[in-house]
């Protein structure tokens, strides 16, 4: 059972945990993200010595468990980060997680791409539209995206080429991708 569950996607696990009250699926999901959760929480633990990991993590898991049953979760990683930040930032307040409009756009395009993988006609159509959107992007963003995604350049290569720090580079890439997504979506609506 454990083996089978580990092969399932996040979405599947969440739906199992929710609809079938499958604690095992929930456990697999938590297990999958536990190392990231720990890594993200370590800076807080080191900066605030009053935080006891034996209390923090169970409490975090409890909060995650509670929100798993009630909240709409598009992406497990975003949701976990949101809950973790909420817990460590304002432990008395439980702010529900809700993905932004951009996030949802991105998710929509990802799903479309995923679906098109098995359909040649859809895929061709999607490629044409994506390229059109890419053409309408500003030159800087276009160049960045082309280099990173199409030419397979790594962070190290790009930082060396542009002289920007990795963090900055990442945020630029992220912003460019968001713009591309917006253009693509608007194109879709205009069509």
């Amino acid at each position: 059972m454990q083996q089978q569950l580990t092969n399932l996607s996040d979405k599947e696990l969440i739906s199992r945990a929710r609809k079938q009250l499958d604690r095992e699926a929930e456990g697999v999901l938590m297990d999958r993200y536990s190392h990231l959760l720990v890594a993200v929480t370590i800076p807080y633990l080191s900066s605030q010595p009053n935080l006891d990991p034996n209390i923090v993590f169970p409490a975090l898991l409890q909060r995650l468990n509670a929100s798993l049953k009630t909240q709409t979760i598009y992406k497990a990683n975003e949701w976990i980060l949101h809950i973790q930040k909420g817990y460590l930032g304002k432990p008395e307040k439980n702010i529900p997680f809700y993905p932004s409009r951009d996030g949802r756009d991105l998710l929509h395009i990802e799903n479309t791409v995923d679906k098109a993988a098995t359909n040649i006609i859809d895929r061709q159509d999607l490629i044409v539209r994506l390229e059109q959107a890419l053409q309408r992007l500003s030159a800087d963003d276009n160049a960045l995206i082309t280099q990173f995604y199409l030419e397979n350049k790594s962070f190290a290569d790009l930082t060396a080429a542009t002289g920007l720090p990795r963090e900055k580079l990442r945020s630029q890439l992220k912003a460019a991708k968001a713009k591309l997504a917006k253009l693509f979506m608007n194109q879709g609506y205009a069509k």
Partner: protein, 363 residues
């Protein structure tokens, strides 16, 4: 195809979803131990995923990764310990609950089934009792047979037993006395004393025979009862008539109090018969009614009654009716008819055979 438009296909890569970094990918990326393709995929994901990027930066700032490893192990163990056993326990609880429910349902089912069965049987029984008196007669006659076998075997041919008792105080079968006592009164008033004497002797012989062949008699009695069941519908009508007509004889004695004491005796008797149980056989009713007429000297009426019994009923009552019919004919002076009747009785070869033979011989 792919070489023709490599870029085209790659465009889709921008928006392809990639899973978060796994537990061993993270340190390997930090140490630069990934292949180019894998590293590129990780970096693609890192641009999108804040969680992974935050984790990466946090781990890069942390000097020793021991704490990270330790905490991760602990957390995973905690997750496994807290969630999976609980789920197992839950499953067991669910299973036991299901089983319990099943058992409860089964118990309820049987209780309801038994209640239903009980109510149904009571209803059916009541319906039977109300609608089918012959069934009840049979039911009441069976215990009688069991408790007082002698009575059934010997006392049922009312005439013979009764007259036997009337004439001679000493009865061969002491068990037959209760039956004879009840049936004595109507039988003490035969129309012709000579015939009574004949009957006495015949009855004695018959009794002896019956005592010998008691078991055979029981069998025949059972058969007779079965026959009477078959003719149930016909009996019903006859019984109804008999009841109506028996009311008349009850009234008649009051109108003719001048008659002999012997004749006064019978009227209360049928009433007695009626009162103890409504389960008296319809044949018996008819027979008794006819007897009353015969004793009152209304021979024509009696003959018609006996004829009806002869045609409608079965078993011993036919025989007895024929015997009485013969006696009626004889007392009316119709010797030929009487003889024929006696012969018929003899031919039936029943309990009355000897008496009939004797009567025929004396004619």
């Amino acid at each position: 195809m792919q070489s023709n438009k490599p870029n085209n296909e790659k465009v889709l890569k921008i928006f392809s979803a990639i899973r978060c970094l796994s537990r061993d990918q993270l340190p390997r990326y930090m140490e630069g131990r990934l292949t180019d393709v894998e590293r590129h995929l990780v970096e693609q994901h890192l641009t999108d995923c804040d969680l992974c990027y935050d984790a990466l930066t946090a781990l890069e700032q942390e000097e020793n990764t021991e704490r990270y490893q330790d905490l991760t192990n602990k957390l995973q163990r905690y997750v496994q310990n807290s969630i999976q056993p609980v789920s197992h326990v839950q499953k067991i609880a669910q299973y036991t609950r299901k089983e319990k429910n099943k058992e409860n349902m089964l118990a309820y089912f049987w209780i309801i089934a038994f209640i239903g069965l009980g109510v149904g049987s009571v209803y059916v029984l009541r319906g039977h009792i109300r609608n089918q008196p012959p069934v009840r007669i049979m039911a009441s006659s069976v215990p009688q047979k069991d408790s007082v076998r002698e009575e059934v075997a010997t006392g049922v041919p009312l005439v013979t037993a009764a007259e036997n008792n009337a004439g001679t105080t000493t009865t061969p079968a002491p068990a037959a006395t209760p039956a004879t006592q009840t049936s004595a009164k109507p039988a003490t008033t035969p129309v012709h004393p000579d015939s009574a004497a004949l009957k006495k002797a015949a009855a004695l012989k018959a009794l002896q025979k019956k005592a010998a062949a008691d078991s055979i008699r029981k069998h025949t009695l059972l058969q007779k009862q079965a026959d009477s069941l078959k003719k149930e519908t016909a009996d019903k009508a006859a019984a109804a008539k008999a009841k109506e007509e028996e009311k008349k004889p009850d009234q008649k004695p009051e109108q003719k109090p001048v008659q002999k004491e012997k004749e006064q005796a019978p009227p209360p008797e049928p009433a007695k018969r009626e009162t103890p149980s409504t389960a008296v056989n319809s044949d018996e009713y008819l027979y008794k009614a006819a007897m009353v007429y015969q004793q009152q000297g209304n021979l024509n009426e009696a003959i018609s009654r006996y004829k009806r019994i002869e045609s409608v009923s079965s078993g011993k009552y036919v025989e007895m009716a024929r015997y009485q019919l013969a006696i009626c004919y004889r007392s009316k002076g119709q010797a030929g008819k009487a003889r024929r009747m006696f012969k018929e009785v003899i031919r039936m070869d029943g309990s009355m055979k000897a008496a009939a033979q004797q009567a025929l011989d004396s004619m």
